[in-house]
């Protein structure tokens, strides 16, 4: 897709001495009897950008949803920015306010204007005064290039615009980590680029990002690491160039042949 974008940085790893912002060890998850995630071990460094891909049903969305506890894991441990995810509701709320998430279906609040969508959490979670929150919200709407839509309702915007508002809404909480769950899969083709451009700009600013996507151009341009998942397991993880040019595992090769040549 976005091959023309200049690669920001493709060095395989950041400074390895840097503290891990996410650390997942021996994590398992079941939906009823169905074993969705099997022995996941993953460490993410600050400012690292990871693209997760794999066939549908491979558990990639579930994996990033475990990181902000939209899904509960049953075994193993997940530590986010020094806080372990447990049953403790207060911990969960703290982690959620530090971890932004962008959904495939945008999930904007349809009864609120764009500006109110973006201001909501800063006002009620961060306890920011309204005027300050509005000012900050406008800054983020400018950053995603739609300040002129602030007074409209989400239902009046195109999919691409809605997704950019959703990104601004997450950024307004000043998150340390951003999770993207197939952010461009529900978009019409001509709107994918405007969303990816915002994400690339965000990557350049040093945000820690975990992105579930099939946009391989985006992976090549900004990811430090590409993770391939299948049937609930991490099969392979490599820097993007190596991953695309030199996949080791048979399943990775099959998957790449299916998404790249059609």
């Amino acid at each position: 897709m976005n091959q023309e974008t200049t690669p920001v940085s493709t060095q395989p790893r950041l400074d390895p001495s840097d503290a891990k912002i996410i650390s997942i060890k021996g994590m398992h998850k079941w939906f009823g009897d169905f074993h969705v995630l099997k022995d996941i071990n993953l460490e993410v460094a600050r400012s690292e950008r990871i693209v997760i891909c794999g066939p549908s049903g491979s558990g990639k969305s579930t994996l990033i949803r475990c990181i902000n506890r939209l899904e509960e894991h049953q075994q193993g441990s997940i530590v986010v920015d020094g806080t372990e995810l447990t049953q403790d509701l207060k911990n969960i709320e703290i982690i959620r306010s530090e971890v932004g998430m962008v959904f495939q279906q945008f999930n904007l609040f349809p009864h609120l204007t764009v500006l109110d969508n973006v201001m909501l959490a800063p006002i009620w979670v961060r306890k920011l005064p309204r005027a300050e929150a509005a000012e900050q919200a406008m800054q983020y709407l400018e950053r995603v290039k739609i300040p002129e839509q602030a007074a409209k309702y989400p239902g009046q915007l195109s999919g691409g615009q809605q997704q950019r508002v959703a990104i601004a809404r997450s950024l307004c909480m000043n998150p340390r980590i951003m999770l993207f769950d197939e952010p461009t899969s529900a978009l019409d083709p001509e709107m994918i680029k405007e969303v990816l451009d915002v994400m690339i700009e965000l990557a350049e600013s040093g945000m820690t990002m975990l992105v579930v996507t099939h946009e391989m151009g985006f992976a090549t341009a900004v990811a430090h690491r590409v993770i391939f998942m299948d049937e609930g397991e991490i099969i392979e993880q490599k820097p993007p160039r190596e991953f695309f040019e030199n996949p080791e595992h048979e399943r990775t090769k099959l998957f790449l042949s299916q998404i790249l040549h059609h």
């Binding site: 959904f103 999930n107 609040f109 349809p110 009864h111 909501l120 979670v125 309702y153 239902g155 997450s170």
Partner: protein
Amino acid sequence: MSESSHYAPGTHPDLPPPARTTGMVGWVRGNLLSSPLNVALTLLSIWLLWSILPPAIHWLFTEAVWTAKDRKECWALMDAPRDAACWAFIRGSFELFVYGWFPEPERWRVNLTFILFIAAIFGGLRENIPGKKYWLIFAAAYPFIAAWLLLGGFGLEPVGTNKLGGILLTLVVAVTGIAFSLPIGIALALGRRSKLPALRGVCVIFIEFIRGVPLITLLFVASTMLTYFLPPGSTFDLLMRVLIMVTLFASAYIAEVVRGGLQGLSAGQYEAADSLGLSYWRAHQLVILPQALKISIPGIVNTFIGSFKDSVLVLIIGMMDILGLGRARLNDPDWLGLAPELYIFISLFFFISCFSMSRYSLSLEKKLHTGH
């Protein structure tokens, strides 16, 4: 069609839509005379209106008697006895129908309660009103102000609940049921969807029990059985017991309507609220309930209208609401046999009240529609 070929590709202008029959004539032709069957139905309707309307107007208005001291005098004033409505009956009983037996010198309290009621409704429901916050506080405090004004105490002459009757009693029962059933119903709906099994169980049992028992049965329970459960010698006002039962009954229905609204929201709305770090209560206050209640407006108003009309059932346990009082008045020898006038009056009262609620809900739905 062939005209479009005159334009080179990419230069086609926007054209007006093809001419249609518009205006009054077009509407009549399209809606009333579009086919032989429609013509026949139109003629039949005209004939029906022609044969019903003039006599109805004659009976209701032109020939009706508005001032008389009893039915005999009423009939004497007509071309033929019983030929038209005797509204003098309603006029003569109007104060009784409105205030019940509320002591005359204290009736200003009823009037004030009613004026404050209108103020609370308008102030609480209007969107762009200055000092909205204070209006809402006033609306929330209104039931207690009204209770104080009507029942007295704290400096006002006490009035027994047995003095309440007629439209006043109907409104007290209906408005109490409506005002308290919404918050209780929302709480029950949230409880029924709770992750805590004990809370969920209690809510399910309550809702299903109340919905499974007719309101009349609950009212009989209120009027007779409850006294067995209370310590001997203690008195618990009958009206209070009835109000509790009516409120609980409406709450169970509201709970199910609101639960439907909650289920109408996509899981994504909950997830988005969660992912922003909003707590359960904040998420419900800011994101979930505003949307769920909006979806539920038709069902909620339907339940409100239902409980407004169900308030007449209190006459079965001997309370004199507008219907009970009216029927008692029919036995007055001066006004025997004037049932049609009475029931038209009562129907009109209920129709105006319920129709206003219905129209308000429609305008509310329109206002809250945000284009999605």
